[in-house]
Each structure stands twice: as C-alpha cells, then as structure tokens.
Amino acid sequence: MKQDLYAIYSIWLREMLRFFRLKSRVFGSVAMPFFFLAFMGVGFGSGTSMPGIPSGVGYVSFLTPGIIGMTLLFSATFAGLSVLWDREFGFLKEIMVAPVSRIAIVLGRTAGGLTTGILQAVIILICGIFLGMKMPSLAGFLLSLVFMVLIAATFIGLGLAFASKMKDMSGFSLIMNFLIFPLFFLSGALFPLERFPGLLRNLAYMNPLTYGVDGLRYSLIGTSAISPVVDLAVLAVCCAAMLFLGAYFFENTEVK
C-alpha cells in the first residue's frame, strides 16, 4: 500500500517534471484553445446574437466553457495516450517491471493528466475573463473544478484504453481525426446543441463531453441546456466506466 502511494506520487512527479521542463509544451498546450477562444470569440461575439444562446449571455461567455472543455478533452486524451510515447521510447518497460499494482500506475498517470489538464483549463478560463466573460462566483468556480476533474478523468481513461491496445504511434492521427475532433465538434462547445439537426443532436447526447461542457456552462455562466444534476450524474458514470476500461486494458497490456 505504501509502495503504491509512492508509485502514484513518483509517476505524478515525473509528469510534472516533464511538463514544466519543456517550456514550449506548456505554451503550445494552451495556444490552440486560446486561438479558438480569441478568434471565434471576437468573430462571432459582436453583432447579432446567435439563436439558442439565452439573451444577455455574450458569445465569449458562452464559448469559454466550451473551449475549457476542448482543452480538457485534448490534454486528457494526450495524457492517456502518452503511454504510447513511453512504449515507443522504452520507458514503459521500466514502469511495468516495477513491483507496484497496475492500478497505482493508472492512478499516477491520471493524477498527472488531471493536474496538467486543469492547469491549462484554468489558464483558458482566465483568458476568457480577459476577453469579456463575466467573472464567475466562487461557488461556481469550485463547481466547475468538479466538472473539470470528471471530464479530464473520463478522457484520460479513454486515451489509456486506446494506448494499451495500440502497438505504436501509427494509429495516432486516426484517433485525432476520427475520435477527438468529432467529440469536440459534437459537444456543443462552439454553438448551442439545438442548432444541430436531429441525428447529430442524438449523437451529441451520446458524447460525454456534451454533459461536461453543459455542466461547465452552468457553473461558470449560470445557463445550461440540460439539468446540471443530469450532467453530473452522466459524467460521473462515464468517468468511472472509462477509468475502469483504461485500467482494465492497461492491466493486460504486454510489453514487447
């Protein structure tokens, strides 16, 4: 037990060292969401309001929780998929041969991914406030942190599950283009769900990120399309399922 706690800390610490050692990575990781937020916020922000957005809510306010969701989606999936890098560069063997439970390894990685993901999300939140989003209340901010943790953990689990089944990096762009981007666009991060035609809207309701973004909107700007209780419940179930799935596949991965 003590050894497992050490292992979780050790793996988390390594993620931190790696993350902060590469300044370009810290920078690069928030650059894309920032550009989305800045350019779309400015582009759509002025002029007529978008149908589906409650009156009185500016587009930047509407968009910021969506972009926070996007930041978490990308950083968390990458954190899960980083097992692939470790496989590629051999370090996975050093981790797997250690006498610690596999669940501790998964928890250490999850802790690392959560920390870096939420850090980036908070940076984006601050950017959003600078760009014109209304300052959230403290309670709202704390609730948003809960949603951030659930979103990040869900997609870390997803990334981990994929990474455990993949032998090398060749499938990486497939995952990017056919999983991550559709999840992002089908989450209502950029525009209200009701603008989707029926089929797409049903797909969006099967996307855990939809509930995450909606929950973030509720906590940060006080509007939501779905009940926040439903958001929380659906997301919690998805999170548990994905983490279990990720841990299960990781447990059974072989290191050649």
Binding site: K2, Q3, Y6, A7, Y9, S10, L13, R14, L17, R18, R21, L22, F89, G90, F91, L92, K93, E94, I95, M96, V97, A98, P99, V100, S101, E254, V255, K256
Partner: protein, 349 residues
Amino acid sequence: MNNITSEIGRMDGPQLGQAKNEAAISMQGLTKRFGDMTAVDHVDLEINKGELFGLLGANGAGKSTIIKMLTTMLTPTEGEARVWGHNVTQERNAVRSSIGVVFQDPAVDGMLTGRENLDFHGRMYGMDGPLRQKRIDEVLELVDLVEKADIKMEDYSGGMQRRLEIARGLMHYPHVLFLDEPTLGLDAQTRRYLWQYIHNMNKTNGVTIVLTTHYMEEADALCDRVAIIDNGKIVALDTPENLKDMIGSDFVILEIQSGAEALIQYLQPFSWIKSASIINGTVELKVDHAQQRIPEIMQVANECSAVITSVGLHKPTLEDVFLKYTGRKIREAGGTANSLVAMMHRRKR
C-alpha cells in the same frame, strides 16, 4: 579476449556442483508463441543462486523472449517458470520485487536527469528518502557517473546510458539481475568496463546474474555456465570450458623445414597425440592440453632432427561450439542487419 579472461579471473564457481536449497530460476516447458511463430519452444532450465548465467544465441533465437517472460513482461503461452521461488504468472509482484532488469533497448526518460531517473526508480521500489539518496550515490559511484548525474539523459552517450541503467537495475538490491544484451553496440573499451562491473557485482555482491548475448567472447569471459539457444530451444548447456572441451582437443600446427615424416613417426606412440597429419607441408597435431605438450613436442623434434620453423596453437572457442550445435556461425545466423538496426536505434535515443 584471452587477456580479459585472465584479467577478470575465470570464475571459480563456488556454487557449481554444490548442493543448494533452491534454484534462483527454474523453467519447465516454457513456451511462447506469437501467432504461428514459436519464439521459445519448451525450455527446461535451472539457474543456481549466485550464478552468472549466459543465454547465448543469434538475434531472434528467443533469448530476449525468455527474459521477458521471466521478468513478467510477457505471459508464457505454455509451461511455467519460477524466479526466486515465485511463479511468474501468479506472483508477478513478488517476482518483480526480487529482480532488477536492464532491457536490450534503452528504458530511460531522456527528459529527466540520471539522478531523477534513479529517484523515480527508487520510489517505484518503495525506498524511502534517506535510503534512496544513499543508494543513488552508491550506484552512481559504482558506475562512475557521479559527475554526470545531473544532466539530462538524452545528452548521455550510449555507454553512459547503459551504465546508468545497470546502476538502476542494482539500486534496490535485487536477488537476480537480468541483463539483456548489456554491451550491444558499445565500443570495446566500454564493454570491458561493463564486464568488470558485471563480474564484480556477481562475485563481490553475490547477485545472481542472467545475461543474454550474441558475443561469444562475452559469454566466455563472464559466464559460469552458458546455454546456447537456437530456434527457441536450448541446444547445449554447460560451463564454457566443458562446452569447448566437447568440441575436442586443441590443434598444434607446426611449420617444418625438414623431417616431417620422421617427426610424426616418433610422435605417434604417445598417448596424448590424438591424431597427426601432414597438410600442405605443415604438421597438424590434435592434442589435449596443448600448451603443456609443446615442450615435449620440441624435445621429440630435436631427437629426430626435424627442423621446426614456427609453432601455432588453435584452441576451440565458443564460436566453434556454436557452429557445431547450430550448423551456422553466429554472425551468419543473426543477420548483421538486425544488430545494426538495434545499434542505430540505441544511438538515436
């Protein structure tokens, strides 16, 4: 090669032939298949505590796969194996606690310093702060990397990286240390240093060591016992001496100006002469323990007035043993392309 043998001092195998409580490692019918390909084929083997054991074979012979099963990285398709008394499929964590592993390909985090890599390792093995610091300093000293400890490992040379990995494998006092091709792609000088380390770890600290290699001289210089692996099977298993003895006797090759026939006639009666023949004007004698017989041969030559202009001695090497058991030379068997790729792989990191 003979130099290093005497330099290191051939193992006198305190464990060899002695009764011991339990083997460090035992395998029964150990098998691994990848699809249709059988990488390891029903291997039975026992490795004793305190032994420095070598798995010798060409690339792709199945050595690394055996190591990976023993270190819980791969699950055997069939058969079973125990490491330090623990079953490799049912008691994985107990196995993992007993062993240190240096893998064939680098397994370090290049973005961390050497010290940070060791620190990570120590925590993963449950070592607390003071013990960890003490061991880090000790093993860095052991592999002579104290000054390089705080630079990022991506800036290490291949040899330095290897040494750090060996240090790391030893850090948590493993009972058994696995070294998968420890000197692959390293220059001659670094290899000799590593041989020294490996030898000392085994003889001084009593760590049981299992290494794989496709370098004959490495197996010969270091190992107490050697198993030759070919196509996933053990084809020969013994001490390097005994393996070489099985090949047969030494050859003494004599360049002779005159009196060759007479010399052979004089020599034939001696019991230690296994055979004698003249090939292209040189005399080839098959002799046991040839070094000790050369003076006698000289004496006989004097008596029969044969004029010898030069003396050559050929002792069987493990290369000859490998050739005998596999029908191929190890370099041919391995396909140099593979080792080259592995080398470049290592350098890239």
